[in-house]
């Protein structure tokens, strides 16, 4: 193909002017990537909630209690870490919304005397959401504008 058009050389095309994107684009990219990540985590948390509901419906009420203290303790520690990193509370968004949903589900589970396995699943979901919020907070502090 190039043989038919020798004058249109790579060097000539390569000299096309270079433009720069908007300097404010990088912060927008970081924000959009965070939103996508948060949506993925929130979707995962919703799946966990659905799974917890299904587990509660299928598990016999007489089953031996499962340990709940580990996830609960982990959630407590993460909550303290988040409180020190973000004293005004987590930024609004899908993660914070999902955390609110898990909290309501936990209250409801205790109120109706749900089996320990169901509560453990919810505490685990709460821990994972808190972990994501802490990580998001940490990344936010390290975000660099260029």
């Amino acid at each position: 193909m190039n043989e038919t058009m020798p004058p249109l050389s790579h060097a000539q095309l390569r000299a096309l002017p270079q433009f720069a994107p908007d300097p404010a684009l990088w912060p927008r990219i970081v924000a959009r990537a965070r939103r996508r990540q948060a949506q993925r985590v929130a979707a995962g948390a919703c799946c966990v909630l659905l799974l917890a509901g299904a587990t509660a419906a299928l598990l016999p009420a007489t089953r031996a209690p499962a340990p709940t203290h580990d996830w609960q303790a982990r959630a407590g520690a993460l909550e303290r870490e988040l409180a020190s990193a973000a004293p005004r509370g987590p930024a609004p968004g899908p993660l914070a919304d999902a955390l609110g949903g898990v909290d309501r589900a936990l209250h409801a589970a205790y109120a109706r005397g749900a089996p320990p396995a169901e509560r453990e699943t919810l505490w685990r979901a709460r821990s994972e959401l808190l972990e994501s919020l802490v990580a998001a907070q940490r990344d936010g502090l390290r975000t660099t504008r260029i």
Partner: protein
């Protein structure tokens, strides 16, 4: 799969330490990758799409993917060429998803690029000539002539035959040559 394009701006070396940091989610490392590659991605998309806003959409899409997917990059190809493939795919997605008008007024074309200031006259004229090509022809010219993609690779990208790619390029180059002759601009002035 990737073409060998040693002079492509995407072929620049990236320190392994920088990539390792980016894989661990270090935002400063990602910012550095953006600093190195945002302009090449932007210019590739801009030349093909001919619109600043559309090209910035491509940059945004590509680097959001890098942030989310850099852990999957295993180093089989140089990082820049891996990233270029993301850029080309995102650009072709834009081409497929939207209608891009082919303007004939050079000033209107250059205005859509959002140049910060006046370009040298010959560069502006030649850029306008390139942008007067239909978008798909521009894509073939830019990817084949500047980025070194082969017709076989272009055929796969556009889900067409190699003959289709060759024909598009041939017609585009003939059209450029005619315009250059008609407008009295020497071929050597094509920027």
């Amino acid at each position: 799969m990737e073409p060998t394009a040693p002079r492509s701006v995407f072929a620049q070396e990236v320190p392994p330490d920088l990539l390792a940091q980016a894989r661990r989610g270090d935002m400063q490392a990602h910012a550095e990758l953006y600093r190195r590659f945002a302009a090449p991605v932007f210019n590739l998309a801009l030349r093909v799409l001919g619109e600043r806003a559309a090209a910035e959409d491509v940059v945004q899409e590509v680097f959001v993917r890098v942030l989310g997917q850099v852990r999957r990059y295993r180093g089989e190809a140089p990082f820049g060429l891996w990233l270029r493939r993301l850029a080309v795919n995102a650009t072709i997605d834009q081409l497929r998803a939207r209608r891009f008008l082919v303007a004939t007024d050079a000033d209107a074309l250059l205005a859509r690029l959002g140049a910060p200031g006046p370009l040298p006259e010959q560069q502006a004229e030649a850029l306008a000539l390139l942008l007067r090509l239909p978008p798909r022809a521009r894509a073939v010219v830019v990817l084949h002539e500047l980025e070194g993609y082969t017709h076989a690779e272009l055929a796969r990208m556009f889900e067409q035959t190699e003959s289709y790619s060759k024909s598009i390029l041939s017609r585009a180059l003939v059209r450029l040559r005619r315009r250059l002759g008609r407008d009295g601009i020497g071929l050597e002035s094509l920027p």
